[in-house]
């Protein structure tokens, strides 16, 4: 069962690679002043939202509405920092600016996860092995069964609850992701996994970043507010939760919608550049919305374009999308897209569907589930 060769012959794959490479090269050449200004404006907005949000939490002393607004602004600041700024800067999308801080080696983001750890599991593993069962741990995070490629286990019965919990504690899930993969705290070490970072280094980064985040949001800022300690602490907690729910939702829509394909490690062995591009397209999906909505998602709404061109500034994905879609049409490659609600709906359906083993689903519906 070779999904990749079903869609493209070797020659077509080569042509696809050339076309997409050309598209990337043209875009790369056009990067410049306006992209730099966009990022810097974004950082300015993020900082303004963070400062005003934290200050408004104090104004809750007069009215809960101010506190509520403060929470929303702080949540917005965290979302912008994590998604449109952090995720994209850490991908190296803005390294060409030679900015002293907004580059993939220096930037640290407002989330429990250590940036370097993220770069290893996300930039390297997830983007290289996208949707390859057994290699891309992002496909279910080792917690959820999202396709029949995985053996059914009893705990999958309540995996919708697991999903809700993961969503709520998403920043910690993300932070722990690499340690789970490396079996640092529990489980037997996997023979085929080798890491260039030792377990003790992983633990050190996990605890130090996590501790810094906890201290910042639940001790330092509340203490600075003196008698208003509790309302600041609760405000920070709620802002973190909002960020967790939003980022988890957006991220889940990227690879778990109804039509995405999964792949086996064997069929991707010796994959050509064109086939890699094809797998990225088949394994990702987009959703639509107004421009401000795309920015809030860090342009992960354009997951396909992001997976094709992870090192191009995400703000360019919207203009690339029609061209990518046209190329997909010419090569008869499915281009997964839909409204946000529709896509998210299919994600929830997927989590529920694979809570049950295939055999049970077949007998119940009388057809393959």
């Amino acid at each position: 069962m070779n999904t990749l060769s079903q869609f493209l012959s070797a020659h077509q794959a080569e042509q696809l690679a050339q076309e997409l490479d050309q598209l990337a090269a043209t875009t790369r050449e056009s990067l410049g002043e306006s992209d730099a200004r966009y990022l810097q404006r974004l950082v300015a907005v993020q900082r303004l939202a963070a400062i005003s949000g934290r200050l408004l939490l104090l104004a809750g002393f007069w009215s809960a509405w101010w506190w509520g607004l403060g929470v929303l602004l702080l949540a917005l600041a965290k979302i912008l920092d994590n998604m449109e700024i952090g995720h994209n800067v850490l991908h190296g999308q803005y390294d060409w600016m030679n900015h002293p801080y907004l580059n993939s080696r220096r930037f640290e983001w407002d989330i429990a996860c250590d940036a370097k750890s993220w770069q290893r599991t996300h930039n390297f593993e997830h983007h290289t092995y996208t949707n390859i069962i057994g290699k891309d741990r992002d496909f279910g995070y080792g917690l959820l069964r999202l396709s029949d490629d995985f053996r059914w286990r009893l705990r999958n019965l309540w995996q919708f609850v697991t999903y809700l919990l993961l969503s709520t504690l998403f920043q910690w899930g993300v932070s722990y992701h690499e340690l789970a993969a490396q079996r640092v705290f529990a489980g037997r070490k996997k023979a085929d996994r080798h890491s260039q970072v030792s377990d003790s280094e992983l633990k050190k980064a996990f605890f130090s970043k996590g501790a810094r985040q906890l201290l910042k949001d639940y001790l330092v800022f509340p203490l600075l507010a003196g008698p208003l300690f509790l309302q600041v602490l609760l405000g920070n907690l709620l802002a973190n939760l909002i960020r967790n729910w939003w980022t988890a939702t957006v991220i889940f829509c990227g690879h778990f919608t109804a039509e995405v394909y999964t792949f086996s490690a064997e069929e991707c062995e010796g994959e050509s550049r064109g086939q890699w591009y094809l797998r990225q397209m088949l394994g990702s999906s987009n959703f639509t919305g107004p421009r401000w909505f795309h920015i809030l998602t860090g342009h992960l709404s354009c997951q396909i374009e992001h997976h094709l061109f992870p090192d191009l500034p995400a703000s360019r994905y919207l203009e690339l999308a029609p061209q990518v879609q046209a190329i997909a049409q010419r090569y008869q490659i499915p281009y997964h897209s839909g409204s946000f609600l529709r896509q998210y709906g299919t994600v929830l359906a997927r989590i529920l569907r694979y809570s049950l083993p295939a055999t049970v689903r077949q007998t119940r519906s009388g057809a393959a589930g």
Partner: protein, 210 residues
Amino acid sequence: MLAAGSGITPLFAMLSSISRLTQPLTLIYSARDADPVLAAECIRLQEKFPLLQFIQLNSTTAGRLKPEMLLAWVPDLVKRRCYLCGPTGFSQQWQQWLQQQGVPEQAILQESFGLQLTATTEMQSLEIKTPGGVLQTLSQGNLLQSLEQAGLAPRYGCRRGICMQCLCQKQQGQVRNLLTGTLSGNGTEVIQLCITEAVTALQLDLTSQG
């Protein structure tokens, strides 16, 4: 500004696009057969910009540009900002000399026209700064593989230019991007080891990784 051969083109473009010159600027144009039109334009620009000094050197008759000549024409060299443009060897040689004279690295800007490309099969010498000291080795082809063959363990990830795990600071030298074929500049920049190969001698700083 030092221009050799067709390197005059961007430097001239810079000069012709400014409206005022508020600092002394010396443009030295060294070539075997100089472009007469550009040279004439540069002479005329001296009238527009009183602070511009244009010196034309015919390397066939007067020989190549030598350090003594440069020091004679621009005695306060160390304080100047230097623009170098020409073939790779030219830019590299003058950059090294200028730095030796005490010109700070950030004050030297250069472009090289890869007109004298070395073949990709040629071995290039690498000087690598590691946590254990400085290592000298040879490289051919893919830099990541060359470093591994030399017994080093650089950080890497996908090994195909996607994940940026192997980013490393190049202090000096020119590299070629194996995916796009583009040549880099000669100065300090960050490169992805897995998709670049050395085109000239290189200085790398492995301690700058991750």
